[in-house]
Protein backbone atom coordinates (compact mmCIF):
# COMPACT_ATOMS: atom_id res chain seq x y z
CA UNK A 1 0.00 0.00 0.00
CA UNK A 2 2.91 2.32 -0.25
CA UNK A 3 1.89 5.43 -1.97
CA UNK A 4 3.03 8.98 -2.11
CA UNK A 5 0.53 9.57 0.65
CA UNK A 6 2.77 7.75 2.99
CA UNK A 7 5.67 9.90 1.99
CA UNK A 8 3.85 13.00 3.10
CA UNK A 9 3.99 11.77 6.69
CA UNK A 10 3.45 13.27 9.62
CA UNK A 11 4.63 14.96 12.70
CA UNK A 12 7.70 13.32 14.16
CA UNK A 13 7.68 12.59 17.84
CA UNK A 14 3.96 12.01 18.19
CA UNK A 15 4.48 8.33 18.90
CA UNK A 16 5.31 6.52 22.08
CA UNK A 17 8.83 5.17 22.39
CA UNK A 18 9.21 1.57 21.28
CA UNK A 19 8.31 -1.03 23.88
CA UNK A 20 11.18 -2.73 25.65
CA UNK A 21 10.18 -6.30 25.08
CA UNK A 22 11.44 -7.76 21.84
CA UNK A 23 9.10 -8.48 19.00
CA UNK A 24 9.49 -11.31 16.53
CA UNK A 25 7.42 -10.83 13.43
CA UNK A 26 6.57 -14.00 11.54
CA UNK A 27 4.58 -14.19 8.33
CA UNK A 28 2.58 -17.32 7.56
CA UNK A 29 1.94 -18.08 3.90
CA UNK A 30 0.63 -20.87 1.70
CA UNK A 31 -2.32 -21.83 -0.47
CA UNK A 32 -5.92 -21.16 0.42
CA UNK A 33 -7.40 -23.70 2.83
CA UNK A 34 -4.16 -25.28 4.07
CA UNK A 35 -4.90 -24.17 7.63
CA UNK A 36 -2.84 -21.02 8.17
CA UNK A 37 -5.56 -19.44 10.28
CA UNK A 38 -6.02 -22.59 12.38
CA UNK A 39 -2.29 -22.94 13.01
CA UNK A 40 -1.82 -19.36 14.09
CA UNK A 41 -4.99 -19.44 16.18
CA UNK A 42 -3.90 -22.68 17.78
CA UNK A 43 -0.58 -21.18 18.80
CA UNK A 44 -1.95 -17.88 20.06
CA UNK A 45 -5.16 -19.09 21.70
CA UNK A 46 -4.05 -22.61 22.59
CA UNK A 47 -7.02 -24.30 20.93
CA UNK A 48 -8.46 -25.19 17.55
CA UNK A 49 -11.01 -22.57 16.41
CA UNK A 50 -14.60 -23.84 15.90
CA UNK A 51 -15.31 -22.04 12.69
CA UNK A 52 -12.75 -20.37 10.56
CA UNK A 53 -13.53 -18.48 7.43
CA UNK A 54 -11.52 -17.38 4.46
CA UNK A 55 -8.93 -14.80 5.50
CA UNK A 56 -9.38 -11.60 3.55
CA UNK A 57 -6.19 -9.59 3.36
CA UNK A 58 -4.11 -10.10 6.47
CA UNK A 59 -5.04 -11.06 10.01
CA UNK A 60 -2.83 -10.46 12.95
CA UNK A 61 -2.38 -12.55 16.09
CA UNK A 62 0.18 -12.33 18.84
CA UNK A 63 1.36 -14.17 21.89
CA UNK A 64 3.83 -13.26 24.58
CA UNK A 65 6.23 -16.05 25.33
CA UNK A 66 9.11 -16.36 27.71
CA UNK A 67 12.52 -17.67 26.74
CA UNK A 68 15.30 -17.80 29.33
CA UNK A 69 13.40 -15.36 31.49
CA UNK A 70 12.95 -12.87 28.70
CA UNK A 71 9.45 -11.93 27.57
CA UNK A 72 9.14 -11.88 23.81
CA UNK A 73 6.17 -10.91 21.70
CA UNK A 74 5.61 -13.26 18.82
CA UNK A 75 3.51 -11.62 16.13
CA UNK A 76 1.97 -13.86 13.53
CA UNK A 77 0.70 -12.35 10.30
CA UNK A 78 -1.84 -14.69 8.81
CA UNK A 79 -2.29 -13.99 5.11
CA UNK A 80 -4.99 -14.67 2.52
CA UNK A 81 -4.20 -17.66 0.36
CA UNK A 82 -5.89 -16.59 -2.86
CA UNK A 83 -3.31 -15.54 -5.38
CA UNK A 84 -4.89 -12.19 -6.22
CA UNK A 85 -4.35 -10.94 -2.68
CA UNK A 86 -0.65 -11.58 -2.61
CA UNK A 87 0.03 -9.73 -5.87
CA UNK A 88 -0.91 -6.25 -4.80
CA UNK A 89 -2.17 -6.40 -1.26
CA UNK A 90 0.04 -8.34 1.04
CA UNK A 91 3.47 -6.96 0.23
CA UNK A 92 3.19 -4.23 2.86
CA UNK A 93 3.27 -7.00 5.45
CA UNK A 94 6.49 -8.53 4.21
CA UNK A 95 8.40 -5.57 5.54
CA UNK A 96 10.59 -6.18 8.57
CA UNK A 97 9.65 -9.82 8.74
CA UNK A 98 11.98 -11.90 10.94
CA UNK A 99 10.86 -15.35 9.87
CA UNK A 100 8.61 -17.05 7.34
CA UNK A 101 6.39 -20.09 7.86
CA UNK A 102 5.36 -21.87 4.66
CA UNK A 103 2.30 -24.06 5.09
CA UNK A 104 0.95 -26.82 2.88
CA UNK A 105 -1.81 -29.34 3.43
CA UNK A 106 -0.58 -32.94 3.50
CA UNK A 107 -3.93 -34.05 2.04
CA UNK A 108 -3.67 -31.65 -0.90
CA UNK A 109 -0.84 -32.26 -3.34
CA UNK A 110 -1.56 -29.02 -5.20
CA UNK A 111 -0.80 -27.00 -2.08
CA UNK A 112 2.60 -28.73 -1.93
CA UNK A 113 3.25 -28.06 -5.60
CA UNK A 114 2.59 -24.35 -5.01
CA UNK A 115 5.47 -24.05 -2.55
CA UNK A 116 8.08 -22.99 -5.12
CA UNK A 117 5.80 -20.10 -6.09
CA UNK A 118 5.51 -19.04 -2.45
CA UNK A 119 9.26 -19.24 -2.03
CA UNK A 120 9.70 -17.12 -5.13
CA UNK A 121 7.17 -14.70 -3.68
CA UNK A 122 9.38 -14.29 -0.63
CA UNK A 123 12.44 -13.85 -2.74
CA UNK A 124 10.72 -11.04 -4.62
CA UNK A 125 10.08 -9.32 -1.33
CA UNK A 126 13.80 -9.52 -0.56
CA UNK A 127 13.36 -12.20 2.05
CA UNK A 128 16.25 -14.43 1.17
CA UNK A 129 17.83 -17.43 2.81
CA UNK A 130 19.16 -15.29 5.62
CA UNK A 131 15.65 -14.98 7.03
CA UNK A 132 14.75 -18.15 8.92
CA UNK A 133 12.12 -20.15 7.08
CA UNK A 134 10.31 -23.29 8.07
CA UNK A 135 8.00 -25.63 6.24
CA UNK A 136 4.86 -26.95 7.90
CA UNK A 137 2.74 -29.80 6.54
CA UNK A 138 -0.66 -29.41 8.20
CA UNK A 139 -3.66 -31.75 8.68
CA UNK A 140 -1.58 -34.79 9.64
CA UNK A 141 -4.56 -36.13 11.58
CA UNK A 142 -6.29 -37.01 8.28
CA UNK A 143 -4.10 -40.06 7.87
CA UNK A 144 -6.27 -41.77 5.29
CA UNK A 145 -6.23 -38.81 2.95
CA UNK A 146 -2.52 -38.06 2.89
CA UNK A 147 -1.28 -37.12 -0.58
CA UNK A 148 2.10 -35.70 0.31
CA UNK A 149 4.39 -38.15 2.03
CA UNK A 150 7.15 -37.22 4.44
CA UNK A 151 9.92 -38.20 2.03
CA UNK A 152 9.23 -35.79 -0.82
CA UNK A 153 8.43 -33.08 1.71
CA UNK A 154 11.72 -33.64 3.53
CA UNK A 155 13.59 -33.61 0.25
CA UNK A 156 11.98 -30.37 -0.72
CA UNK A 157 12.68 -28.85 2.67
CA UNK A 158 16.33 -29.92 2.49
CA UNK A 159 16.76 -28.48 -0.96
CA UNK A 160 15.60 -25.13 0.37
CA UNK A 161 17.51 -25.36 3.64
CA UNK A 162 14.38 -25.39 5.72
CA UNK A 163 13.39 -27.61 8.58
CA UNK A 164 10.18 -29.57 8.01
CA UNK A 165 7.40 -30.08 10.54
CA UNK A 166 4.36 -32.25 9.99
CA UNK A 167 1.55 -31.47 12.34
CA UNK A 168 -2.15 -31.00 12.87
CA UNK A 169 -3.66 -27.82 14.20
CA UNK A 170 -6.80 -29.81 14.99
CA UNK A 171 -5.67 -32.94 16.78
CA UNK A 172 -5.43 -32.18 20.49
CA UNK A 173 -2.52 -34.58 20.85
CA UNK A 174 -0.55 -32.26 18.69
CA UNK A 175 -1.22 -29.20 20.77
CA UNK A 176 2.30 -29.05 22.09
CA UNK A 177 3.57 -29.71 18.67
CA UNK A 178 2.10 -26.55 17.13
CA UNK A 179 3.36 -24.66 20.12
CA UNK A 180 6.75 -26.31 19.74
CA UNK A 181 7.02 -25.29 16.10
CA UNK A 182 6.60 -21.61 16.80
CA UNK A 183 8.72 -21.83 19.94
CA UNK A 184 11.49 -23.36 17.90
CA UNK A 185 11.36 -20.43 15.51
CA UNK A 186 11.39 -18.03 18.43
CA UNK A 187 14.40 -19.74 20.00
CA UNK A 188 16.21 -19.59 16.74
CA UNK A 189 15.46 -15.90 16.34
CA UNK A 190 16.50 -15.17 19.88
CA UNK A 191 19.79 -16.99 19.60
CA UNK A 192 20.60 -15.38 16.30
CA UNK A 193 19.57 -11.85 17.08
CA UNK A 194 20.97 -11.02 20.47
CA UNK A 195 21.16 -7.34 19.59
CA UNK A 196 18.00 -7.02 17.58
CA UNK A 197 16.11 -3.83 18.15
CA UNK A 198 12.93 -4.19 20.11
CA UNK A 199 11.00 -2.56 17.33
CA UNK A 200 12.14 -2.09 13.77
CA UNK A 201 12.19 1.62 13.17
CA UNK A 202 10.84 3.18 10.02
CA UNK A 203 11.47 0.14 7.90
CA UNK A 204 15.25 0.33 8.19
CA UNK A 205 15.68 -1.29 11.54
CA UNK A 206 15.80 -4.88 10.43
CA UNK A 207 19.22 -6.41 10.44
CA UNK A 208 19.41 -9.62 8.49
CA UNK A 209 21.37 -12.45 9.99
CA UNK A 210 24.59 -13.50 8.46
CA UNK A 211 24.12 -16.22 5.95
CA UNK A 212 26.80 -18.50 7.32
CA UNK A 213 25.01 -18.81 10.62
CA UNK A 214 21.86 -19.84 8.87
CA UNK A 215 23.60 -22.45 6.84
CA UNK A 216 25.34 -23.96 9.83
CA UNK A 217 22.02 -24.59 11.43
CA UNK A 218 20.46 -26.04 8.35
CA UNK A 219 18.38 -29.07 9.09
CA UNK A 220 18.98 -28.95 12.83
CA UNK A 221 15.37 -28.19 13.59
CA UNK A 222 13.94 -30.96 11.48
CA UNK A 223 11.75 -33.41 13.25
CA UNK A 224 9.85 -36.46 12.19
CA UNK A 225 6.41 -37.37 13.30
Amino acid sequence: MESSLELTTSLPGTCLPPPRSRIFKIIVIGDSGVGKTCLTYRFCAGKFPDKTEATIGVDFREKVIEIDGEKIKVQLWDTAGQERFRKSMVQHYYRNVHAVVFVYDVTNAASFRSLPAWIEECRQHSLGQEVPRILVGNKCDLRDAVQVGTDPAQKFADSHSMPLFETSAKNPDDNDHVEAIFMTVAHKLKSQKPLMLSQPLGGEGFMPMRKSEEEEEKGVLACSC
Binding site: M1, S3, S4, L5, E6, T8, T9, S10, L11, P12, T14, C15, L16, P18, P19, I23, K25, S32, G33, K51, T52, E53, A54, T55, I56, G57, V58, D59, F60, E62, Q75, A80, G81, Q82, R84, F85, K87, S88, M89, V90, H92, Y93, Q199, G202, G203
Partner: protein, 403 residues
Amino acid sequence: MYLKKSKSIGASSPLNGIGKQDWNSRRKRKVGEISQALSVTPVDVAALRRMAISEGGLLTDEIRCRVWPKLLNVNTDDLPEKLAEGLRENHKDYHQVLLDVRRSLRRFPPGMPDDQREGLQEELIDIILHVLDRNPQLYYYQGYHDIVVTFLLVLGERLATVLVEKLSTHHLRDFMDPTMDNTKHILNYLMPIIERVNPEVHDFMQQAEVGTIFALSWLITWFGHVLSDFRHVVRLYDFFLACHPLMPIYFAAVIVLYREEEVLECECDMASVHHLLSQIPQDLPYEMLISRAGDLFVQFPPSELAREATQQHSQQTAASTFKDFELASAQQRPDSVLRRRRKEQAALAEQAQAQAMVVARPRAKRLIRLAVMGLTVALGAAALAVVNTALEWAPKLDLQFFP
Protein backbone atom coordinates in the same frame (compact mmCIF):
# COMPACT_ATOMS: atom_id res chain seq x y z
CA MET B 1 -15.30 19.34 16.14
CA TYR B 2 -14.18 15.86 15.25
CA LEU B 3 -16.68 13.11 14.72
CA LYS B 4 -16.42 11.54 18.11
CA LYS B 5 -17.54 14.67 19.87
CA SER B 6 -20.98 14.50 18.33
CA LYS B 7 -21.52 10.89 19.27
CA SER B 8 -24.75 11.70 21.06
CA ILE B 9 -26.48 12.25 17.73
CA GLY B 10 -26.57 8.49 17.49
CA ALA B 11 -28.88 8.31 20.48
CA SER B 12 -31.92 8.66 18.28
CA SER B 13 -31.32 5.24 16.78
CA PRO B 14 -34.31 2.97 16.41
CA LEU B 15 -32.98 0.60 19.04
CA ASN B 16 -33.06 3.24 21.73
CA GLY B 17 -35.86 2.81 24.26
CA ILE B 18 -36.60 6.50 24.65
CA GLY B 19 -38.51 7.80 21.70
CA LYS B 20 -39.65 4.29 20.78
CA GLN B 21 -43.18 5.51 20.32
CA ASP B 22 -41.89 8.21 18.11
CA TRP B 23 -39.85 5.75 16.08
CA ASN B 24 -42.85 3.45 15.67
CA SER B 25 -44.91 6.21 14.15
CA ARG B 26 -42.05 7.35 11.94
CA ARG B 27 -41.54 3.76 10.89
CA LYS B 28 -45.20 3.40 9.97
CA ARG B 29 -45.02 6.57 7.95
CA LYS B 30 -41.90 5.36 6.23
CA VAL B 31 -43.53 2.07 5.24
CA GLY B 32 -46.35 4.12 3.71
CA GLU B 33 -43.95 6.34 1.82
CA ILE B 34 -42.09 3.37 0.43
CA SER B 35 -45.34 1.75 -0.74
CA GLN B 36 -46.31 5.02 -2.35
CA ALA B 37 -42.98 5.31 -4.18
CA LEU B 38 -43.32 1.74 -5.40
CA SER B 39 -46.93 2.13 -6.54
CA VAL B 40 -46.48 5.01 -8.95
CA THR B 41 -45.60 4.38 -12.58
CA PRO B 42 -42.80 4.63 -13.23
CA VAL B 43 -41.47 3.83 -9.80
CA ASP B 44 -40.05 6.79 -7.86
CA VAL B 45 -36.49 5.53 -7.56
CA ALA B 46 -35.21 8.79 -6.11
CA ALA B 47 -37.63 8.48 -3.19
CA LEU B 48 -36.62 4.86 -2.67
CA ARG B 49 -32.98 5.88 -2.53
CA ARG B 50 -33.79 8.42 0.14
CA MET B 51 -35.68 5.77 2.12
CA ALA B 52 -32.79 3.33 1.83
CA ILE B 53 -30.38 5.92 3.19
CA SER B 54 -32.46 7.56 5.89
CA GLU B 55 -32.96 6.26 9.42
CA GLY B 56 -33.67 2.54 9.63
CA GLY B 57 -33.12 1.98 5.93
CA LEU B 58 -35.65 -0.27 4.25
CA LEU B 59 -36.85 -1.73 7.55
CA THR B 60 -37.78 -5.29 6.56
CA ASP B 61 -36.63 -8.01 4.22
CA GLU B 62 -40.05 -8.01 2.51
CA ILE B 63 -39.54 -4.38 1.58
CA ARG B 64 -35.98 -5.09 0.53
CA CYS B 65 -37.21 -7.75 -1.89
CA ARG B 66 -39.26 -5.08 -3.61
CA VAL B 67 -36.91 -2.12 -3.37
CA TRP B 68 -33.42 -3.52 -3.93
CA PRO B 69 -34.27 -4.49 -7.53
CA LYS B 70 -35.43 -0.91 -8.17
CA LEU B 71 -32.25 0.53 -6.68
CA LEU B 72 -30.26 -1.64 -9.05
CA ASN B 73 -32.63 -1.04 -11.95
CA VAL B 74 -33.26 -4.74 -12.36
CA ASN B 75 -36.39 -5.97 -14.06
CA THR B 76 -37.89 -8.73 -11.94
CA ASP B 77 -40.48 -9.85 -14.49
CA ASP B 78 -38.29 -12.29 -16.31
CA LEU B 79 -36.20 -14.04 -13.71
CA PRO B 80 -34.09 -16.92 -14.91
CA GLU B 81 -35.46 -20.41 -14.50
CA LYS B 82 -33.42 -22.97 -12.64
CA LEU B 83 -29.73 -22.19 -12.96
CA ALA B 84 -27.80 -24.18 -15.51
CA GLU B 85 -26.47 -27.49 -14.28
CA GLY B 86 -22.98 -28.71 -14.87
CA LEU B 87 -21.21 -25.39 -14.42
CA ARG B 88 -19.45 -26.60 -11.39
CA GLU B 89 -16.43 -28.74 -11.98
CA ASN B 90 -15.60 -27.01 -15.21
CA HIS B 91 -15.25 -23.54 -13.82
CA LYS B 92 -11.77 -22.28 -13.07
CA ASP B 93 -12.83 -20.80 -9.76
CA TYR B 94 -14.90 -23.78 -8.67
CA HIS B 95 -12.49 -25.05 -6.06
CA GLN B 96 -11.90 -21.68 -4.50
CA VAL B 97 -15.62 -20.92 -4.36
CA LEU B 98 -16.35 -24.32 -2.85
CA LEU B 99 -13.64 -23.87 -0.25
CA ASP B 100 -14.87 -20.43 0.76
CA VAL B 101 -18.59 -21.24 0.81
CA ARG B 102 -18.19 -24.49 2.73
CA ARG B 103 -16.44 -22.68 5.56
CA SER B 104 -18.73 -19.66 5.60
CA LEU B 105 -20.85 -21.08 8.42
CA ARG B 106 -20.95 -17.86 10.37
CA ARG B 107 -22.86 -16.04 7.68
CA PHE B 108 -25.98 -18.07 8.31
CA PRO B 109 -28.41 -17.31 11.12
CA PRO B 110 -27.47 -19.09 14.34
CA GLY B 111 -29.90 -21.91 15.00
CA MET B 112 -30.61 -22.63 11.34
CA PRO B 113 -30.83 -26.42 10.88
CA ASP B 114 -27.76 -27.89 9.20
CA ASP B 115 -29.61 -29.31 6.21
CA GLN B 116 -31.27 -25.99 5.48
CA ARG B 117 -27.93 -24.22 5.73
CA GLU B 118 -26.29 -26.78 3.50
CA GLY B 119 -29.02 -26.29 0.91
CA LEU B 120 -28.40 -22.56 0.95
CA GLN B 121 -24.67 -23.10 0.63
CA GLU B 122 -25.26 -25.13 -2.52
CA GLU B 123 -27.43 -22.33 -3.90
CA LEU B 124 -24.72 -19.87 -3.01
CA ILE B 125 -22.17 -21.83 -5.02
CA ASP B 126 -24.62 -22.02 -7.94
CA ILE B 127 -25.27 -18.28 -7.96
CA ILE B 128 -21.60 -17.37 -7.84
CA LEU B 129 -20.63 -19.75 -10.61
CA HIS B 130 -23.61 -18.68 -12.72
CA VAL B 131 -22.63 -15.02 -12.57
CA LEU B 132 -18.96 -15.77 -13.21
CA ASP B 133 -19.80 -18.04 -16.09
CA ARG B 134 -21.96 -15.43 -17.79
CA ASN B 135 -19.38 -12.69 -17.25
CA PRO B 136 -15.97 -14.08 -18.10
CA GLN B 137 -14.43 -10.64 -17.54
CA LEU B 138 -15.18 -10.98 -13.81
CA TYR B 139 -12.79 -12.76 -11.46
CA TYR B 140 -13.81 -14.31 -8.19
CA TYR B 141 -12.27 -12.92 -5.03
CA GLN B 142 -12.41 -14.26 -1.49
CA GLY B 143 -15.09 -12.13 0.14
CA TYR B 144 -17.39 -12.05 -2.88
CA HIS B 145 -19.21 -14.97 -1.28
CA ASP B 146 -19.86 -12.81 1.79
CA ILE B 147 -21.76 -10.34 -0.38
CA VAL B 148 -23.66 -12.95 -2.35
CA VAL B 149 -24.82 -14.75 0.79
CA THR B 150 -26.46 -11.56 2.02
CA PHE B 151 -28.47 -11.26 -1.18
CA LEU B 152 -29.36 -14.95 -1.05
CA LEU B 153 -30.64 -14.75 2.52
CA VAL B 154 -32.74 -11.66 1.85
CA LEU B 155 -34.02 -12.36 -1.65
CA GLY B 156 -33.89 -16.08 -2.32
CA GLU B 157 -31.96 -17.74 -5.11
CA ARG B 158 -33.65 -16.45 -8.29
CA LEU B 159 -33.88 -12.79 -7.37
CA ALA B 160 -30.44 -12.85 -5.74
CA THR B 161 -28.93 -14.18 -8.96
CA VAL B 162 -30.05 -11.27 -11.11
CA LEU B 163 -29.25 -8.63 -8.52
CA VAL B 164 -25.83 -10.03 -7.81
CA GLU B 165 -25.07 -10.08 -11.50
CA LYS B 166 -25.98 -6.41 -11.81
CA LEU B 167 -24.04 -5.51 -8.72
CA SER B 168 -21.01 -7.42 -9.94
CA THR B 169 -20.87 -5.53 -13.19
CA HIS B 170 -21.36 -2.19 -11.43
CA HIS B 171 -20.61 -1.57 -7.75
CA LEU B 172 -18.29 -4.54 -7.34
CA ARG B 173 -16.72 -4.32 -10.75
CA ASP B 174 -13.41 -2.92 -9.54
CA PHE B 175 -12.93 -5.73 -7.05
CA MET B 176 -13.43 -8.33 -9.78
CA ASP B 177 -10.59 -7.39 -12.09
CA PRO B 178 -7.88 -9.97 -12.75
CA THR B 179 -5.71 -8.10 -10.25
CA MET B 180 -6.54 -6.08 -7.16
CA ASP B 181 -4.90 -2.91 -8.40
CA ASN B 182 -8.19 -1.05 -8.65
CA THR B 183 -9.22 -2.28 -5.22
CA LYS B 184 -5.96 -0.97 -3.87
CA HIS B 185 -6.62 2.32 -5.59
CA ILE B 186 -9.99 2.62 -3.90
CA LEU B 187 -8.40 1.92 -0.53
CA ASN B 188 -6.15 4.87 -1.27
CA TYR B 189 -9.15 7.15 -0.74
CA LEU B 190 -9.31 6.20 2.92
CA MET B 191 -6.45 8.23 4.32
CA PRO B 192 -7.29 11.48 2.49
CA ILE B 193 -10.81 11.35 3.92
CA ILE B 194 -9.46 10.76 7.41
CA GLU B 195 -6.94 13.55 6.98
CA ARG B 196 -9.59 16.08 6.11
CA VAL B 197 -11.66 15.35 9.16
CA ASN B 198 -9.02 14.58 11.74
CA PRO B 199 -5.42 15.28 10.76
CA GLU B 200 -4.18 14.02 14.11
CA VAL B 201 -5.59 10.55 13.56
CA HIS B 202 -4.30 10.62 10.00
CA ASP B 203 -0.79 11.56 11.06
CA PHE B 204 -0.78 8.95 13.78
CA MET B 205 -1.79 6.23 11.34
CA GLN B 206 0.83 7.34 8.85
CA GLN B 207 3.45 7.29 11.53
CA ALA B 208 2.44 3.77 12.49
CA GLU B 209 2.63 2.78 8.81
CA VAL B 210 -0.50 0.77 9.34
CA GLY B 211 -1.47 0.81 5.67
CA THR B 212 -5.08 0.24 4.70
CA ILE B 213 -5.41 -3.53 4.52
CA PHE B 214 -7.32 -3.53 7.80
CA ALA B 215 -10.20 -2.05 5.78
CA LEU B 216 -9.88 -4.40 2.82
CA SER B 217 -12.43 -6.94 4.00
CA TRP B 218 -14.78 -4.12 4.97
CA LEU B 219 -14.65 -2.68 1.50
CA ILE B 220 -14.85 -5.78 -0.66
CA THR B 221 -17.56 -7.49 1.40
CA TRP B 222 -19.50 -4.33 2.21
CA PHE B 223 -18.83 -5.19 5.86
CA GLY B 224 -20.60 -8.55 5.45
CA HIS B 225 -17.47 -10.39 6.51
CA VAL B 226 -16.91 -8.51 9.74
CA LEU B 227 -20.32 -7.75 11.22
CA SER B 228 -21.91 -10.62 13.08
CA ASP B 229 -25.45 -9.23 13.32
CA PHE B 230 -27.23 -9.75 10.04
CA ARG B 231 -29.59 -6.82 10.69
CA HIS B 232 -26.66 -4.45 10.67
CA VAL B 233 -25.35 -5.96 7.46
CA VAL B 234 -28.61 -5.51 5.55
CA ARG B 235 -29.04 -2.01 6.93
CA LEU B 236 -25.67 -1.11 5.46
CA TYR B 237 -26.55 -2.81 2.19
CA ASP B 238 -29.64 -0.59 1.93
CA PHE B 239 -27.35 2.38 2.27
CA PHE B 240 -24.67 1.19 -0.14
CA LEU B 241 -27.16 0.08 -2.79
CA ALA B 242 -28.61 3.57 -2.80
CA CYS B 243 -25.24 5.30 -3.06
CA HIS B 244 -22.15 5.79 -5.12
CA PRO B 245 -19.89 2.71 -5.31
CA LEU B 246 -17.23 4.50 -3.27
CA MET B 247 -19.53 4.99 -0.29
CA PRO B 248 -18.18 1.92 1.57
CA ILE B 249 -14.78 3.61 1.78
CA TYR B 250 -16.38 6.71 3.32
CA PHE B 251 -18.11 4.46 5.80
CA ALA B 252 -14.78 2.81 6.59
CA ALA B 253 -13.29 6.24 7.24
CA VAL B 254 -16.18 7.15 9.50
CA ILE B 255 -15.60 4.04 11.62
CA VAL B 256 -11.92 4.87 12.04
CA LEU B 257 -12.78 8.46 12.94
CA TYR B 258 -15.41 7.34 15.40
CA ARG B 259 -12.71 5.33 17.18
CA GLU B 260 -10.40 8.34 17.33
CA GLU B 261 -9.62 8.04 21.03
CA GLU B 262 -8.82 4.35 20.90
CA VAL B 263 -6.60 4.87 17.89
CA LEU B 264 -4.63 7.68 19.49
CA GLU B 265 -4.19 5.71 22.70
CA CYS B 266 -2.88 2.72 20.78
CA GLU B 267 0.81 1.95 20.56
CA CYS B 268 2.05 3.66 17.44
CA ASP B 269 3.17 0.67 15.42
CA MET B 270 1.76 -1.20 12.47
CA ALA B 271 0.78 -4.34 14.35
CA SER B 272 -1.04 -2.62 17.20
CA VAL B 273 -2.96 -0.21 15.04
CA HIS B 274 -3.80 -2.86 12.45
CA HIS B 275 -5.00 -5.15 15.19
CA LEU B 276 -7.13 -2.49 16.85
CA LEU B 277 -8.76 -1.29 13.66
CA SER B 278 -9.38 -4.68 12.12
CA GLN B 279 -11.37 -5.74 15.19
CA ILE B 280 -14.54 -3.87 14.38
CA PRO B 281 -16.78 -3.07 17.38
CA GLN B 282 -20.14 -4.81 17.05
CA ASP B 283 -22.14 -2.10 18.80
CA LEU B 284 -21.48 0.79 16.45
CA PRO B 285 -24.16 3.51 16.23
CA TYR B 286 -24.94 2.64 12.64
CA GLU B 287 -27.54 5.30 11.91
CA MET B 288 -25.28 8.07 13.09
CA LEU B 289 -22.32 6.68 11.17
CA ILE B 290 -24.37 6.31 7.99
CA SER B 291 -25.44 9.91 8.19
CA ARG B 292 -21.83 10.95 8.84
CA ALA B 293 -20.61 9.00 5.84
CA GLY B 294 -23.22 10.74 3.72
CA ASP B 295 -22.07 14.11 5.00
CA LEU B 296 -18.45 13.32 4.28
CA PHE B 297 -19.28 12.19 0.79
CA VAL B 298 -20.96 15.50 0.08
CA GLN B 299 -18.14 17.51 1.61
CA PHE B 300 -15.27 15.59 0.11
CA PRO B 301 -16.54 13.97 -3.06
CA PRO B 302 -14.34 11.37 -4.73
CA SER B 303 -13.27 13.75 -7.46
CA GLU B 304 -11.75 16.01 -4.85
CA LEU B 305 -9.85 13.13 -3.27
CA ALA B 306 -8.80 11.55 -6.52
CA ARG B 307 -5.74 13.70 -6.89
CA GLU B 308 -4.46 12.28 -3.62
CA ALA B 309 -5.45 8.71 -4.15
CA THR B 310 -2.24 8.10 -5.95
CA GLN B 311 -2.86 5.82 -8.84
CA GLN B 312 -5.03 7.21 -11.55
CA HIS B 313 -8.43 5.78 -12.26
CA SER B 314 -8.80 3.79 -15.37
CA GLN B 315 -11.92 4.34 -17.39
CA GLN B 316 -13.21 0.95 -16.41
CA THR B 317 -13.70 1.53 -12.71
CA ALA B 318 -17.12 1.11 -11.19
CA ALA B 319 -16.95 4.72 -10.17
CA SER B 320 -16.92 5.64 -13.82
CA THR B 321 -19.60 3.21 -14.94
CA PHE B 322 -21.82 4.38 -12.13
CA LYS B 323 -22.85 7.46 -14.03
CA ASP B 324 -24.38 5.46 -16.86
CA PHE B 325 -25.99 3.17 -14.40
CA GLU B 326 -27.47 6.04 -12.49
CA LEU B 327 -28.80 7.64 -15.65
CA ALA B 328 -30.37 4.37 -16.72
CA SER B 329 -32.19 3.93 -13.45
CA ALA B 330 -33.26 7.56 -13.38
CA GLN B 331 -34.97 7.12 -16.71
CA GLN B 332 -37.66 5.18 -14.97
CA ARG B 333 -38.93 8.57 -13.93
CA PRO B 334 -37.62 11.33 -16.12
CA ASP B 335 -39.20 14.22 -14.26
CA SER B 336 -37.41 13.19 -11.12
CA VAL B 337 -34.16 13.84 -12.90
CA LEU B 338 -35.11 17.45 -13.36
CA ARG B 339 -36.19 17.82 -9.77
CA ARG B 340 -33.02 16.22 -8.64
CA ARG B 341 -30.87 18.45 -10.80
CA ARG B 342 -32.42 21.49 -9.21
CA LYS B 343 -31.65 20.17 -5.76
CA GLU B 344 -28.17 19.33 -6.84
CA GLN B 345 -27.66 22.87 -7.96
CA ALA B 346 -28.78 24.04 -4.55
CA ALA B 347 -26.44 21.62 -2.82
CA LEU B 348 -23.69 22.70 -5.14
CA ALA B 349 -24.18 26.34 -4.34
CA GLU B 350 -24.16 25.54 -0.66
CA GLN B 351 -21.01 23.55 -0.92
CA ALA B 352 -19.33 26.14 -3.08
CA GLN B 353 -20.04 28.63 -0.38
CA ALA B 354 -18.54 26.40 2.25
CA GLN B 355 -15.51 25.80 0.12
CA ALA B 356 -15.05 29.45 -0.66
CA MET B 357 -14.78 30.08 3.03
CA VAL B 358 -12.03 27.59 3.48
CA VAL B 359 -9.90 27.85 0.41
CA ALA B 360 -8.10 30.87 1.76
CA ARG B 361 -7.25 29.22 5.07
CA PRO B 362 -6.52 25.59 4.43
CA ARG B 363 -5.51 24.71 7.97
CA ALA B 364 -8.91 25.72 9.30
CA LYS B 365 -10.58 23.81 6.53
CA ARG B 366 -11.89 20.83 8.42
CA LEU B 367 -13.41 22.76 11.25
CA ILE B 368 -15.33 25.19 9.16
CA ARG B 369 -16.46 22.60 6.74
CA LEU B 370 -17.79 20.34 9.36
CA ALA B 371 -19.55 23.15 11.13
CA VAL B 372 -21.19 24.50 8.02
CA MET B 373 -21.97 21.24 6.39
CA GLY B 374 -22.88 19.43 9.54
CA LEU B 375 -25.50 21.98 10.35
CA THR B 376 -26.89 22.68 6.95
CA VAL B 377 -26.96 19.35 5.24
CA ALA B 378 -29.52 17.19 6.95
CA LEU B 379 -29.29 13.66 5.74
CA GLY B 380 -32.54 13.73 3.84
CA ALA B 381 -31.36 16.62 1.73
CA ALA B 382 -27.88 15.21 1.47
CA ALA B 383 -29.21 11.89 0.26
CA LEU B 384 -30.06 13.18 -3.17
CA ALA B 385 -26.73 14.83 -3.49
CA VAL B 386 -25.02 11.74 -2.18
CA VAL B 387 -26.66 9.62 -4.78
CA ASN B 388 -26.12 11.89 -7.68
CA THR B 389 -23.24 14.13 -6.89
CA ALA B 390 -19.69 13.65 -7.61
CA LEU B 391 -19.49 12.51 -11.14
CA GLU B 392 -21.71 15.11 -12.64
CA TRP B 393 -20.82 18.27 -10.88
CA ALA B 394 -17.82 17.79 -8.70
CA PRO B 395 -15.28 17.91 -11.50
CA LYS B 396 -16.61 21.31 -12.48
CA LEU B 397 -16.33 22.37 -8.90
CA ASP B 398 -12.72 21.34 -8.93
CA LEU B 399 -12.00 23.39 -11.99
CA GLN B 400 -13.54 26.34 -10.33
CA PHE B 401 -11.30 26.21 -7.31
CA PHE B 402 -8.22 24.56 -8.69
CA PRO B 403 -7.78 26.05 -12.16
